[in-house]
Homo-oligomer: 227 residues x 2
């Protein structure tokens, strides 16, 4: 019996990498247009480098880019980049196909739902609010809630406790095998690998289920709960 589903957020409910890429793709020409003397490719290379050093959620990436290129932060160029980035991000931050309809169907089926994200609380909640997910998911656990990241058992335990659900009654859905799937298995949850959100070209996983579309969850839950 599956009573609850725990979703990873980025690359499971929303195509985070596409959103990032598109936003950066718009920000670079805007900065060049505002006077930054650099090629698009070189800017991309430095930005990748900064994200690799500071993590993909790093919020001062353009400040650091300008420091590296100009040895100072030029506010005109910075503002042009940030404005273009935000505009593109708003347009590109959309859920994968069938996410809204599947979530609503699951609500009707009486399934409890939570989000378990390693993102910082402020950024995770801001994406949730932007997508209107904050009305669907009452239970959200982010990095700050435990200070540990998946696959540590702590965040998994925390969200199950908030959902008041036993591990065996919960299904974890995520795109990252090592963190989402292995982490959830270790504490006894059922698991579904979000193949549609895979950015690692994953060959192998030990998940109980594999999703090529999130709507497949409906049949999985229906089947599991028949028994």
């Amino acid at each position: 019996m599956i009573k609850a589903i725990v979703f990873d957020l980025d690359n499971t409910l929303v195509d985070f990498m596409k959103m990032k890429r598109r936003a950066i793709e718009e920000a670079i020409p805007a900065m060049i247009d505002a006077g930054l003397k650099i090629t698009h490719e070189e800017a991309n290379r430095i930005i990748d480098e900064i994200y690799k050093e500071q993590g993909i959620e790093y919020q001062q990436v353009f400040d650091v880019l300008l420091q590296r290129v100009l040895n100072k932060v030029d506010h005109k160029i910075l503002a042009a980049g940030i404005v273009a980035y935000r505009r593109a991000r708003e347009a590109a931050l959309i859920p994968y196909p069938h996410v809204y309809s599947t979530l609503n169907q699951l609500l009707k089926m009486g399934i409890k739902m939570g989000i378990l994200s390693d993102a910082p609380a402020k950024e995770a909640w801001s994406r949730l609010a932007f997508l209107n997910f904050h009305h669907i998911f009452d239970v959200v656990v982010t990095f700050e809630d435990t200070g540990e990241r998946k696959p540590s058992p702590e965040p998994f335990k925390k969200i199950l406790e908030k959902l008041t659900i036993k591990p065996s009654e919960a299904l974890m859905v995520g795109d990252w095998v090592e963190r989402d799937i292995e982490g959830a298995k270790k504490i006894g949850m059922k698991t579904a690998f979000a193949r549609y959100g895979d950015t690692f070209d994953t060959k192998q996983h030990n998940a109980d289920f594999e999703l090529t579309d999130i709507s497949e969850l409906i049949d999985i839950i229906t089947e599991e709960n028949k028994l």
Copy 2:
């Protein structure tokens, strides 16, 4: 002979107070909708109080609001407020009527143009980039450039130096008599009071000109430069 015009930004080129008001008006119901137990009026009152204490550019106003109401920052409510605020701000951040056409006409007339704002560099430039003003005004002086605010002579001197223009050849346009008009007069600039942006119910000013619409600048410059 007027060779250059120096504009104040907020409430002179853009209706900053309307933008703020509208953004706050959207953010409050979004936070209530996300679970904040407070009346709209009470939220408005506390927000006004925080802006009065911290200044109108204060960026953590909702964090402080939640601290005062809940004794903690609830990330769901905070994110709902910020997302609604940003959406409304983007929609409401527009120049006054005839700003774009007037600026373009002035460019064609060969008038140099600059912006002199007391706002922090990051916020001022971000509004400029959002409005595409960063391509029109190459000379922008914000608080950080001198560390002093109008009516101190320093910011005025700084922008005239950047424009390479004598005070007597420059016209200052602004909505704040004490800061924009008095400050500019003191160092010998000509002055125009932006009556259309007045938020103080100003009774008296000593400006050389008064504008009920920014497009009146065209006739003023044409007339002044005929002599």
